[in-house]
Symmetry: C2
Subunit: 426 residues, 2 copies
């Protein structure tokens, strides 16, 4: 049997759940793996706050660097979040030959590729299942099970807050402001919800997924964001009538050797597995050339699910230490990010036009000029203004924006309404 | 860089797809893992049949034992199926210190625990992602990511043939015989469909899942089977009206230290993620104490998806060989299988009764006598005979069967119709 000591950095919701979970499952883990794990030190900002919660308060310290440097500590678990001092702590641990488990998506989305290189150079594990999609085993299957698979696209519902808001809007007809207020009241959304609703949280996770799936260097700053705050109850109604559900998706694609990573609301066909992922659940849909379609579904956040992911990594790292081995992840390629203009998609869009003869012909001509083809066009409202609702065949962003600019200049067009991408049902 | 040579036993649909996939992905795998994989020998029954398909026909042989014994062969991939000679070949390879990848569910469901022990004793990998749920990464997440998780129940749609048949019945109102004929015409079902429709195929996979999830010795002979051939179009209609979909489920549960493994049709609430798994897709739903609900979805069969699973295992084993390490799976516990009588479930059932005063009271009294409580009772049809349709609160199989026996003896009961378990919506 091998005894290994963990240095825990941070003991909030996830760290606290991890301490409890490890106590509850220690015997089973030892029986199945031959490794006994114990926590040797816990670094927190304010030790007084944690005295009563822990069985052994003598483990507490405020000195994060000392925990990393402690020769008794074999494995470091970093749950403090942010990049400073997390970057230095994680790097130092790896350089000292200590495997690191982290749930820190900001850190990895900003500095992942350097850290993967440091881990590889020192032959130790850097594992981060908890950083993306909480409790769902996703990173390990992508990194190991699917390492030989040619993956063309990954689409994920990887932000529970926006999925909760959109589910509430879809199922109860709530408008965005009310659904957000409800999510805030339940603690699913922060007082300042920007990071969630504008797609920054999902963007960081999407960058991590892209680096794993394609073995390329993609950072959160490479991700295009579009939030959900402009989605209206009317958009959701129309989507439903046309057989779609609106979801906030992270889309990671490779085409012609270029990679595109973006986060935006999208209309998903109701029969698609992602359309049935509701409330604060997460799911990641993977399209592989050989394996076909896969989906991984579960809880994307919360102390328990996230601690479960950390524990899975911890056991993996511990078994590797016991065996003298380490996982290996090479970020082999500098990638060309596909220019936004070249990205193509089907679109749903609405516009208000004056209801007079010849308007449809004028509008249709503009689309034709830019080579954008219309799949469905519906007009509603009579007298004065009318609303047009269109679904477009696949077109590039460049062509779409040129079309929208020209439409906006027409006298008969009062205004462009919603512009939402569509996931094709194929 | 490490060069490793594979000995392939069997080159049917999956083996052929593996040869092609390995050729297509060799460069990427080498770049990401530092291991170069090549196939050194392929054992088949009839070499003439494969001459034209393979780039290098000189690899072909009919001598399976020679491939396993070949000192050039570092890793054995067993895709011949069945237990004889697969058991001897796999055991010999492991005893000679060669990792084995297999997609052979019959072998593992009959002899898994012995083989896991041989692999552990010789410190080599025995990997079998392809044996359960085809291309879905399931075994690795269960074995590694969730090794620390307290899992209470796993429910799987793990037979594509029966899921196709039930989907056809649900979506098109087809009856069982027509849906089966359709599945046979499409090649989803065999001419003799027994192994699929009576639950033997799913039962073997369920035994493997149980051994991985609970670390216990469960074989296919320990699994209770109930097929789908008695499901009628009327059952499916009634289920739909009540908010359920009928699915063929494998259910693996642990309660009070005892394990139960069974395969049977079940009514699944329409909002449950498993209810939306259609056609020949598979999905496995996992309920963990800490991680909450998880689901893994994808293609459960087919050359490509299964070859993808084999390749994931192959890369894992190869990296372990290169690192001098091996995965480890301990089957630690001899388990008590829960007696069938003690299993409890909610039930849907139908019976035909004579439509006369006092019948409902007589029927209800029988349920009451056995402590079985009724959640919903509906009567349809007037004059002569009437049909009763009931949903029962959770009850044991023993109590249910005692109730059914007594009901069957009543003069007013013309016959018991369907008896289908229900998945609770919680």
């Amino acid at each position: 049997m091998t005894n290994l000591t963990i240095g825990l950095l941070g003991c909030g919701t996830v760290g606290g759940a991890l301490v409890d979970l490890l106590d509850a499952r220690r015997a089973t883990i030892t029986a199945r793996t031959g490794v006994e794990l114990r926590i040797g030190a816990i670094a927190v900002r304010d030790t007084a706050k944690h005295q009563d919660r822990l069985a052994d308060p003598s483990l507490l310290t405020t000195d994060t660097a000392a925990v990393v440097a402690d020769p008794e500590v074999d494995i470091v678990v970093e749950l403090i979040g942010g990049t400073d001092p997390a970057l230095t702590l994680v790097r130092t641990a790896l350089e000292n030959g200590k495997p690191v488990i982290t749930g820190n998506k900001e850190l990895l989305a900003a500095h992942g590729p350097e850290l993967y290189a440091v881990a590889a150079e020192h032959g130790v594990d850097l594992l981060f299942e908890a950083a993306v999609a909480g409790g769902i085993p996703l990173i390990r299957p992508l990194r190991e099970s699917l390492v030989g698979e040619d993956i063309s696209r990954v689409m994920g519902i990887i932000n529970g807050t926006t999925n909760y808001i959109l589910t509430k809007m879809s199922q109860e007809g709530a408008d965005y402001a009310d659904a957000l207020a409800d999510a805030q009241a339940l603690g699913y959304a922060e007082a300042d919800p920007t990071a969630d609703v504008e797609g920054y949280d999902a963007g960081a996770k999407a960058a991590i997924i892209a680096s794993i799936v394609f073995g390329v260097d993609v950072r959160s700053s490479d991700v295009q964001h579009e939030g959900i705050s402009s989605i209206t109850a009317a958009d959701i109604d129309t989507a439903k009538r046309l057989g779609y559900v609106i979801k906030a998706l992270a889309v990671i694609e490779r085409a012609d050797g270029e990679v595109a990573v973006r986060v935006h609301p999208a209309m998903v066909p109701t029969g698609h597995p992602l359309a049935n992922v509701n409330d604060s659940f997460n799911a990641v849909f993977v399209e592989g050339a050989t394996v076909g379609d896969l989906m991984f579904y579960g809880r994307g956040a919360g102390g328990g699910p996230t601690a479960s992911a950390v524990l899975g990594d911890l056991v993996d790292a511990a078994v590797n230490v016991a065996n003298g081995a380490a996982a290996r992840l090479s970020i082999t390629e500098k990638v060309t990010l596909r220019s936004v203009d070249e990205l193509s998609s089907q679109y749903y869009l609405t516009m208000v036009v004056s209801d007079e003869p010849g308007v449809l012909a004028q509008v249709a001509t503009v689309f034709g000029t830019h080579g954008v083809s219309i799949q469905v066009m519906e007009q509603s409202g009579t007298g004065g203004d009318a609303e047009l609702c269109l679904i477009l065949h696949e077109t590039t962003e460049a062509a779409l924006h040129a079309t929208l600019d020209e439409l906006d200049g027409l006298n008969v067009v009062r205004g462009i309404g919603s512009v939402i991408r569509l996931v094709s049902d194929d």
